[in-house]
């Protein structure tokens, strides 16, 4: 944690030195968040962010012209596609319905702080991440990135914006610029300043209810939530950026793991695309982080998501299998087991997951606490 803080401070200093006041490109961090880490090779500029915003919302970058990044990450749904269980992409064969992925669309809010992207962390940066959904056969369905570049190089609006943002035009515009612009836009989507932040970091005693305060005690105590959903002394990302097998999805697939893991490794050795394999086959998807690292100790493990705005981003978990926050709390209280799961948890369960013995009251308090993590922009937005 200390290392990340230092890096963030350095980057902020670099921004000021480059003559771009932070205020020009992004407002100051809201209460409860550290400075946004900005990569050295992709500094924030207003023109780049405006370009990225446009690219993010452009439906033309999909094979059937109906899917943009913003389709699964809707601004007014806290950048998710709530209440969908798993994301919907391009039209299915025959034009009936949509092709669906295997995973719930995570919010982009505060993704700027993630050290890896995607539920299984297979991308190391927002820049790298942004290029993949275009080519995924169930998401945007393009065969190559060429159609994107054709539009970026010819649409007069884009020609102008790429020139302003990168000083490039024609063949000079490549996916590098597209990726950087989208990532720069995503780094502006940060939010905190929730009732919790006002209470915890702003010391406003009445910002949250007594029940939520009790819930906070459960969160950092008996519930052990804070072990992964990290809170620091002066800010809270609510994620440890690590991967855990918490029993979701993998409990049901546990008896298939020997076959699935062997088949997956064989296919990967022969050059199969992880991106396509995990998002198109529901069972392979449950292998989680293992599909990226090939290591047995992360079988069924997925990235800890942030809890900010969690009350408005239902349903929950990587597969969207839990409908309410109470369902989520119950899952943890049962030691990593939900209704409908096999009688035993999977053998690969993370060590920190164990029965919690919380009372109904404690579970309700915990939910009340999580409801205080909603950012003002989404007050009143209820999607469950």
């Amino acid at each position: 944690m200390a290392v990340r803080k230092r890096a963030a401070t350095l980057l902020a200093a670099m921004l000021s030195l480059s003559g771009l006041g932070l205020a020009d490109v992004a407002r100051a961090e809201p209460l409860g968040l550290p400075p946004v880490p900005i990569p050295q090779d992709n500094p924030q500029t207003a023109d780049k962010i405006a370009l990225g915003n446009r690219l993010f919302h452009d439906l033309r970058f999909s094979s059937d012209g109906t899917v943009a990044c913003a389709t699964c990450h809707k601004d007014d749904h806290a950048f998710t596609d709530s209440p969908l269980r798993t994301s919907e992409g391009i039209r299915a064969e025959g034009g009936v319905g949509k092709k669906t992925g295997t995973r719930n669309a995570p919010t982009i809010i505060n993704a700027a702080y993630f050290t890896t992207l995607f539920w299984d962390g297979r991308s190391a940066s927002l820049e790298d991440q942004s290029q993949h959904p275009f080519l995924n056969p169930v998401e945007m369905g393009l065969a190559t990135h060429e159609p994107i570049l054709a539009i970026a190089r010819s649409d007069p609006f884009y020609v102008e914006l790429f020139k302003k943002a990168f000083g490039k035009s024609g063949a000079g515009v490549t996916m590098e610029e597209v990726k950087k612009a989208i990532a720069a836009y995503e780094r502006t989507i940060v939010s905190a300043d929730s009732p919790f932040d006002r209470w915890r970091f702003g010391h406003e005693e009445n910002a949250i209810s007594e029940g939520a305060k009790r819930g906070f005690e459960v969160f950092i105590g008996q519930g052990r939530c804070v072990s992964c959903h990290v809170i620091e002394q002066d800010q809270a990302l609510f994620t440890d950026n690590r991967f855990h097998n918490i029993g979701v999805g993998i409990n049901r697939a546990q008896f298939d793991v020997p076959r699935l893991s062997a088949e997956f490794l064989t296919a990967k050795a022969k050059g199969a695309d992880v991106d396509k394999a995990v998002l198109t086959d529901p069972k392979t998807s449950e292998l989680g982080r293992f599909a990226v690292t090939d290591q047995f100790d992360v079988i069924g493990a997925f990235k800890t998501p942030t809890l900010r705005n969690v009350a408005v981003t239902a349903p929950y978990m990587h597969d969207g299998s839990l409908k309410t926050l109470k369902d989520v709390v119950k899952h943890y209280n049962n030691g990593g087991r939900s209704e409908g799961d096999p009688a035993k948890v999977n053998d690969y369960l993370s060590g920190g997951i164990r029965p919690l013995n919380l009372s109904e009251q404690q579970m309700d308090d915990l939910v009340a606490f999580m409801e205080t993590l909603t950012t003002p922009a989404y007050f009143g937005a209820k999607t469950r």
Binding site: R224, V226, S227, F296, D347, G351
Partner: protein, 357 residues
């Protein structure tokens, strides 16, 4: 099947973070001459299955062994056999041995089991024998001679004449840093057996000895010690290549004494020295005597694990699978003439302990 394992390729593979699952199995020419089929085996150790009451067992230790068995069953190509390195039980009870044995029974392939002091000092290994057979034995596999020793014995006086009950004897031996404990030994009778067993062999035959305690004198205060280690080593030294693989210490250790390479294996129960537990649940760890600021208290499996071992070079290459942590490989360096940790974690690379909450 044309790839040859040499020391170089094994080390290079380890350095590149080669997965267990991609280990090359092939026909190899070994350092000690001749051609034979290479093989691997997996090694799980120190599960310390502990009964709380009735059908209630300490969850952490159960989960550690269950997970080790499940992962061992995923290894491809399948390993030739599995060794369990001792301390299946915590207090030697039938319930604990049965419960542990049930978990081990899910392992694919042949299982060889080593006697640990926690399995022994309640009934002096009677029930363990009903499950797993003789306390010490040897077998041959693809040109390698394997010896399994019971290295946790001690004097007649301590064992038979000192304690009012068997339970008391077990508790004294299970205690850490306990001045009432006794150093372990292999003993006269077993050393005689070993001398006879080895007498039949050509000195070029590669030897692998499994013991629970180290067969070397590391630190008496922690019982990382085998009192007649020197005499046992003297029997082993005449062989060109000897590997002693031991459990008990719950950490990575390696050493070279003359021709003998020593490699420890990890525990599935807890690391030593162990961290103060973060758990709100009652802790069933033995009393903490050595503080540790390395392992992450939330991740109960941190600093525990198991390893896949191959002896393609005639010496042990141990690939440690450390749960929630980076993998490590200890391989024999023929130039240096001793095992080396090929990916020793520099201080700057180590994972810091959890400091928040």
């Amino acid at each position: 099947m044309s790839e040859f394992i040499t020391r170089r390729s094994v080390l290079a593979g380890a350095g590149a973070g080669a997965a267990l699952t991609t280990l090359p199995i092939s026909m190899v020419t070994l350092a000690f001459g001749g051609t034979r089929e290479d093989f691997t085996f997996t090694y799980i150790s120190d599960a310390h299955i502990q009964q709380i009451k009735g059908a209630s067992f300490v969850r952490n230790w159960d989960q550690g062994l269950k997970r080790a068995v499940a992962e061992a069953n995923l290894v491809k190509p399948e390993s030739d056999f599995v060794i369990f390195g001792g301390d299946l039980a915590q207090l030697g009870k039938r319930e604990e041995l049965d419960h542990g044995a049930e978990m081990l029974s899910k392992l694919k392939g042949k299982l060889h089991v080593v006697m640990g002091e926690h399995d022994y000092y309640l009934d002096l290994g009677d029930y363990w024998s009903k499950l797993y057979g003789p306390h010490y034995y040897s077998f041959d596999h693809k040109g390698v001679h394997f010896v399994v020793l019971n290295s946790i014995l001690t004097s007649e006086q301590w064992t038979f004449h000192r304690w009012p009950t068997a339970e008391q004897r077990m508790l004294e031996m299970a205690g850490l840093d306990n001045p009432n404990g006794s150093p372990f030994m292999v003993g006269d009778k077993q050393r005689k057996w070993l001398a006879n067993d080895l007498a039949k062999l050509d000195k070029k035959t590669p030897l692998v000895v499994f013991s629970h305690s180290p067969l070397q004198k590391i630190y008496k205060g922690w019982n990382f010690w085998t009192d007649d280690a020197d005499e046992v080593q003297a029997l082993l030294q005449p062989f060109d290549s000897v590997n002693v693989i031991y459990g008990h210490v719950h950490q990575i250790q390696y050493n070279q004494i003359g021709n003998i390479s020593f490699n420890s294996v990890m525990a599935t129960a807890w690391p030593w020295p162990y961290p103060q537990s973060y758990a709100q649940a009652e802790s069933h760890l033995p009393v903490l005597t050595i503080p540790m600021n390395r392992a992450d208290p939330f991740f109960e499996r941190d600093a525990t694990g198991w390893q896949l071992i191959d002896i393609g070079s005639g010496r042990v290459t141990a690939r440690y699978q450390l749960w929630d942590n980076d993998q490590r490989t200890v391989a024999f360096d023929h130039k240096a003439g001793r095992p080396v940790d090929v990916a020793y974690q520099e201080p700057t690379q180590r994972r810091l302990p959890q400091t928040h909450y």
